[in-house]
Subunit: 347 residues, 2 copies
């Protein structure tokens, strides 16, 4: 328990910033009451939580554990009761993160890159934290042009981040920053069509990816991540409503169901992708997608951020059962009949 | 098109309260760009939307259509960018709705009833509205101790609500209110174990339910709703994290995937259920659930609202394929190995 805390234990440590009664404590847990009961009984037995006059609070041991793992409360909006606000510590890394993102290479349409707004990268980190998946976990990311790995590591709360990325320029930047800032990240060049290196199989707590959206490519990204996860691991991925129809989403959902993955959260329109609207290459690239062909009028080029994705959290129940072999998809990695925002000439 | 608007058409009418350019318009649609393109091209062709100087706006015909169907913008929280605020019109029905809920019969543990807080019933209505599923739609609700049917109808925006409910007292109340207030609701006594009456098969746009949570019972509720839906219908249901483990959720997800249902939204801890904490019957009922047995300490009784559920939206892709026959589950309708908050002696 000292090295690694389960999601439910983290939930209790996070909730007990002030003493709470049973019903307050149980009302927001997310694992089912039986598993939660096991966890709470255990924490009392181990002297982490104490129960007195109908209130639960952390013992000295509990306070230490909370501190050691950097667990603090998540902030929710009081105006609307629901949404997430950025924690002070996450806000504190914003300037540094933006500074680092300025060094990144130009986007490459060869790899369907688009950069997420830096603030939205931090919202992802905050959301992951609010789900008890951040602290002291081992992360694996496939495809990291957003530099999420750096944002995760800058919090000082994760154990390690492994980045597998096809673009050598991005790999080099991440490793350079990691060394300079002394961050626990290792990045390496990897093409998702290759089998996942054996040393990564079943080794990670959390997998995050913003996959390509062609049906076969998307499933390939997710299957690599599932192979990398430990039992009961957690997967996060982004998906748009642009290049993905309901039919394709259903297909992906069937694939995930077969692999014992249960959807726990779907946050609509969570992440926006930024662009330099003045740049002629952006304008030019829009005119080269299939998007225009769908409309009877000139769609022009955008003048503010519009391309966005939903953020989805999936919990593996036990073990996923994906094969891990080389699969050469070629053009199908990037393109299917739904995808219209990809500049196809590059494939 | 005049009698019934698709979700995508409603999206465009809602978004064009002020003129928008293509990218603003497209950024929050949720059907995939190809279907969206078809819709937008169609609206221009039909003279509902006009395109001028790179901006889309509603024509006179569009403005009338918007008015006819009562479509106005959804409000999102500006503090946190994400969550829903209650629209003025929804707020306006709050007092009346609360007044009506005071007349409801005492909860019956025989049917696993718990009443949702009236304000959370209205949040459900607002959420359904924000998803373009409210206006002029035909609803079916199975189990309505929350009186959602009345809240939906009070908005004046739905076409009709059919309520199937096992408790005759609730059916009588709903029909009494519907008649008195001239609301388009029909309620009737129905036990979910019975096959759905033939006249309801494939007839509704939207199905809403807060099902029992025993695995077999839960699937039975959902399957009845799926039978009642038209092609590409929409289903909403609540599910707790208390009586439902990840394993059971996965089982339900597999069932839904098999029936061509794709999860589009999962809103955690969206609805809280209220109780009269002073009432001795509430205290007594807690001591009679299996909840206490799970803990090594006295859980006491709650002193504020704690029991809550997630709200899930599911889109049928084409047609679901459920059987519609009598299925007698007996005790299994209410109880499985996960369920701990049900007073079992009543079954």
């Amino acid at each position: 328990m000292v090295d690694k805390l389960s999601n439910s234990i983290r939930y209790v440590l996070r909730a007990l910033d002030i003493p709470k009664n049973f019903y307050e404590l149980v009302s927001l847990q997310d694992v089912g009451i039986k598993e939660f009961a096991k966890c709470l009984n255990f924490l009392i037995e181990e002297g982490v939580v104490c129960y007195n006059k109908k209130l639960f609070s952390l013992t000295e041991k509990g306070v230490e554990l909370r501190k050691k793992f950097g667990i603090e409360s998540a902030l929710h909006c009081t105006s609307c009761r629901k949404s997430l606000l950025l924690d002070k510590r996450i806000k504190n890394i914003f300037d540094k993160f933006v500074e680092i993102t300025k060094k990144r290479p130009l986007i490459s349409h060869d790899f369907w890159q688009e950069y997420m707004l830096p603030i939205d990268v931090l919202y992802r980190v905050e959301f992951i934290r609010s789900k008890n998946d951040l602290e002291n976990n081992k992360f694996i990311i496939i495809g990291d042009d957003d530099l999420l790995s750096i944002a995760l590591a800058l919090t000082g709360l994760v154990k390690h981040v492994t980045v597998l990325e096809i673009d050598k320029n991005i790999v080099d930047l991440i490793n350079f920053v990691a060394e300079k800032e002394n961050l626990p990240i290792t990045a390496m060049v990897y093409n998702v069509e290759q089998a996942l290196p054996e040393k990564f199989i079943g080794k990670f707590d959390v997998f995050v990816t913003d996959p390509v959206e062609a049906q076969e490519g998307l499933k390939l990204f997710l299957s690599r991540g599932l192979c990398a996860l430990k039992e009961n691991g957690v997967m996060y991925f982004g998906i748009t409503s642009l290049d993905t129809s309901h039919k394709k989403k259903l297909n992906v959902q069937k694939f995930l169901s077969k692999n014992n993955c249960v959807f726990t959260d779907i946050i609509k329109n969570f992440s926006f992708y930024g662009e330099d609207f003045q740049s002629s290459s952006v304008k030019e690239s829009y005119s080269r997608t299939k998007l225009q062909e769908l409309f009877s009028f000139d769609i022009g080029s955008p003048d503010k951020d519009w391309y966005n994705s939903h953020f989805i959290r999936v919990q593996v129940v036990g073990k996923a059962d994906c094969a891990n072999k080389e699969i050469l998809l070629g053009k199908r990695l990037y393109v299917d009949s739904d995808v219209v925002t990809f500049v196809e000439e590059h494939v």
